[in-house]
C-alpha cells in the first residue's frame, strides 16, 4: 500500500501538460510496472473518467486504491496524487508573478508544452495497442474521429452514444 501511495505521489509530481499527457505515465506505472490493472481495465477507467467529473489522474488513483484496498486505499491514493501539486502550487501562488518574467522559466514551459504533445501521442499508442482487437473497433475509432473532427461534439454525449451502440451491435 505504501508503494502505491509513493507511486501516486511520483505521478502527481510529474503530471505536467494536462490530463491526456499524464495517461502515458499512468499506463506505464499502473499496467506495465506494477500490474495493478490490465491494459483493457485501464482503458475502461479512461472511458469512465471522461464521463464522470474530475481529472483523470485523480479518478484513476481513486479507482485503483478502491479496487485493491477498499475505501481507505482510495483515500490514500487520492491524497498521494494531489500532494505534490498542492505543495508546488502553494509556492507558485506566491512567486508566479516574479518567475513569469524570468527567461529560463518561460523557456522551460515552452519546451514542456511541446513535450506534452509527444506524451499525448505516446498515450494514444500505448492505449491503442489493446483497444483494437477486431475490425469493429477500428470502425468505431474511424467514425468517432470523424464525428469529433466534423461536429466537435461534447465527448460525454459521444461516449454515451458509443456505449449504447456497443450494447446493441457489439
Amino acid at each position: 500500500m505504501l508503494t502505491m501511495f509513493l507511486t501516486f505521489v511520483k505521478v502527481g509530481l510529474f503530471s505536467f501538460g494536462g490530463g491526456y499527457a499524464v495517461l502515458a505515465m499512468l499506463q506505464q506505472e499502473i499496467v506495465v510496472k506494477h500490474g495493478w490493472l490490465t491494459a483493457s481495465e485501464f482503458t475502461d477507467i479512461v472511458a469512465i473518467s471522461q464521463m464522470t467529473p474530475g481529472p483523470i489522474a485523480i479518478n484513476a488513483a481513486t479507482f485503483i486504491g478502491f479496487k485493491t484496498h477498499g475505501i481507505w486505499g482510495s483515500v490514500l491514493c487520492t491524497l498521494g496524487v494531489i500532494l505534490a501539486p498542492l505543495c508546488l502550487m502553494m509556492i507558485l501562488t506566491h512567486t508566479y508573478i516574479k518567475l513569469q518574467q524570468k527567461e529560463w522559466f518561460k523557456n522551460m514551459f515552452k519546451s514542456l508544452r511541446l513535450l506534452s504533445v509527444g506524451l499525448i501521442a505516446a498515450a494514444m499508442v500505448l492505449i491503442g495497442k489493446s483497444a483494437f482487437p477486431d475490425l469493429f473497433s477500428v470502425g468505431v475509432f474511424v467514425v468517432c474521429f470523424l464525428i469529433l473532427w466534423r461536429w466537435k461534439v461534447n465527448p460525454i454525449y459521444m461516449l454515451l452514444g458509443v456505449a449504447v451502440f456497443g450494447m446493441v451491435f457489439g
Partner: protein
C-alpha cells in the same frame, strides 16, 4: 462562514468539471469573480496561467490558488476538498458497481466499443494542441523523441520530463551568458 461558502462553491465547480481541465475555467470564474467577488479578473487570470505551469490537474491547482489567496491554508484545504469530493464519490460508486458487473456481457459489449472511442478522444485533441503550442519543423524533434522514448522504448515519462527541463535550463543559461558577452 467564508470557508463554508468556499467549500460549497468548489463542490459545485468540482461536480461540473465533466471532461476535465480547461472546461471548468468559465464556471470557476463565474463563482469566484462574478458571484462572490473574491478575486479580480486579473488575479484570476494570473492564477490560470500559474495553474497551467504547475504539475497536477488544473482543477486542483486552481482550488489551491483561489483557496490560499482568500483564506490561507484552511481556505486552500477546504477548496481542494470541495473540488475533489464529487469525483471521489462518483468513482467510488462506479468502482464498487464495476467490480460486480464488469464481466456482464452487456457491460463488456459497451466497453468493447468504448475503448477505441477513447483512442479517438485522445487523437483529436492531439491535432488541436499541436497547432496551439507552435509545432514546426525545427522543434518537431522534441515531441517525436518523447513519443519514441515513451511508447516504443518504454522509458518512463518522468525521465523524459527531467531531461527536457534540464536541457532547457542549460540552453537558456548558455544563451544568457552569450547575450551578456
Amino acid at each position: 462562514m467564508i470557508l463554508w461558502q468556499l467549500f460549497i462553491s468548489f463542490l459545485k465547480i468540482g461536480a461540473f468539471t465533466l471532461g476535465g481541465g480547461i472546461a471548468m475555467i468559465p464556471i470557476m470564474r463565474r463563482e469566484v469573480v462574478e458571484k462572490h467577488g473574491w478575486l479580480t479578473d486579473m488575479d484570476f487570470l494570473d492564477g490560470v496561467a500559474a495553474a497551467q505551469s504547475s504539475p497536477g490537474p488544473i482543477a486542483i491547482n486552481m482550488s489551491v490558488y483561489v483557496g490560499y489567496r482568500i483564506k490561507g491554508v484552511p481556505g486552500m484545504l477546504v477548496a481542494v476538498l470541495g473540488s475533489v469530493l464529487p469525483s471521489f464519490t462518483s468513482i467510488i460508486i462506479i468502482a464498487s458497481l464495476f467490480n460486480r458487473y464488469a464481466q456482464e456481457p452487456l457491460v463488456r459489449k459497451a466497453f468493447h466499443a468504448l475503448e477505441p472511442a477513447v483512442v479517438s478522444l485522445i487523437a483529436w485533441p492531439l491535432i488541436q494542441i499541436s497547432q496551439k503550442v507552435g509545432l514546426n519543423w525545427r522543434n518537431f524533434w522534441i515531441p517525436l523523441s518523447a513519443l519514441i522514448a515513451v511508447a516504443f522504448v518504454g522509458i518512463s515519462p518522468m525521465y523524459v520530463i527531467i531531461v527536457c527541463i534540464a536541457l532547457t535550463l542549460i540552453i537558456s543559461h548558455i544563451k544568457q551568458k552569450r547575450g551578456k558577452n
